[in-house]
């Protein structure tokens, strides 16, 4: 479980494999949200344009990063993560993180102000 607060960045370190002709147009799409029965409800997300895919005669591993900034668009609570590789021939490829592994601390709140007074 990873605790995050507003203003923090969550860096997704992604890897995938490629084989075949050089390719451009792929994107890594990373999101924080809720994984449900009908898909992944994204709340925060970011994309990284994949570049430098060269001709690979055999499977070659590429590693790239996507940062998602934690903003007030997301409420405090526990959330899920998802990354998908899009813009590629064939179907998109998905990766899901462990459920409820991201915990957003929420906005700063104050309470229990107490005051006493004396003659000074």
């Amino acid at each position: 479980m990873l605790q995050l607060n507003y203003g923090d960045k969550l860096r997704f370190r992604c890897s995938f494999q490629h084989k075949g002709a050089a390719y451009s147009g792929a994107k890594l799409h990373a999101a924080i949200g809720n994984k449900g029965t009908f898909g992944f409800d994204e709340i925060l997300q970011n994309e990284f344009i994949v570049s430098g895919i060269v001709y690979d005669a055999a499977w070659n591993t590429y590693t790239m990063s996507v940062d998602v900034t934690i903003t007030t668009a997301i409420s405090s609570g526990a959330y899920d993560t998802m990354v998908k590789l899009i813009g590629i021939p064939g179907s998109d490829i998905y990766w899901y993180g462990a459920l409820d592994d991201i915990v957003i601390g929420g906005e700063a709140v104050f309470q229990n102000l107490n005051v006493s007074y004396t003659k000074a």
């Binding site: 990873l2 995050l4 923090d8 960045k9 969550l10 860096r11 997704f12 370190r13 992604c14 890897s15 995938f16 494999q17 490629h18 084989k19 075949g20 002709a21 390719y23 792929a26 990373a30 895919i53 001709y55 005669a57 499977w59 591993t61 940062d67 993560t81 990354v83 998908k84 590789l85 590629i88 021939p89 064939g90 490829i93 998905y94 990766w95 993180g97």
Partner: protein, 144 residues
């Protein structure tokens, strides 16, 4: 290895060369550009005794001179009626190619002792486009 010599030229037999016949070229039907293509050329000795047989090869795809095919062991002494396979290779260009394989025999008559071309055979290798494929997406994350 000492080369075996042929003293007398015989009449051409049906098909193939005088003394040799390329009976097969083994090569893939297609290959991707840049890949190393392995081939095997089998040559039969049609003569009545052992002779030296040599192989050579070239690629035809509109380039002049034709690029040569590499045969690390390009000749052998072959018994009468026997066949010998020569392994070769080339780098697939970005075009479909025709393999031209040639057989030679070592000829000796008077002052003439040299390799003589004898048979020829071809085989096509088409260019294969390797489709772009992706797999195995995985990720880890950390606060930065």
């Amino acid at each position: 290895m000492e080369q075996q010599q042929i003293a007398v030229k015989v009449l051409r037999q049906t098909g193939a060369g005088y003394y040799t016949e390329i009976t097969a070229i083994e090569a893939p039907a297609s290959a991707i550009a840049g890949s190393l293509v392995q081939i095997k050329v089998t040559i039969k000795n049609k003569y009545s005794s052992v002779i030296s047989i040599m192989v050579a090869g070239a690629l035809e795809y509109g380039v002049s001179p034709r690029p040569a095919i590499s045969f690390p062991n390009y000749w052998a002494n072959v018994e009468a009626g026997a066949s010998h396979s020569f392994n070769g290779s080339f780098n697939m260009p970005s075009h479909s190619v025709t393999i031209y394989a040639f057989s030679y025999y070592y000829y000796y008559y008077g002052f003439d002792s040299s390799w003589h071309t004898d048979d020829e055979r071809t085989k096509n290798v088409s260019l294969s486009e390797l489709q772009t494929q992706f797999q195995s997406l995985s990720a880890s994350y950390a606060k930065v």
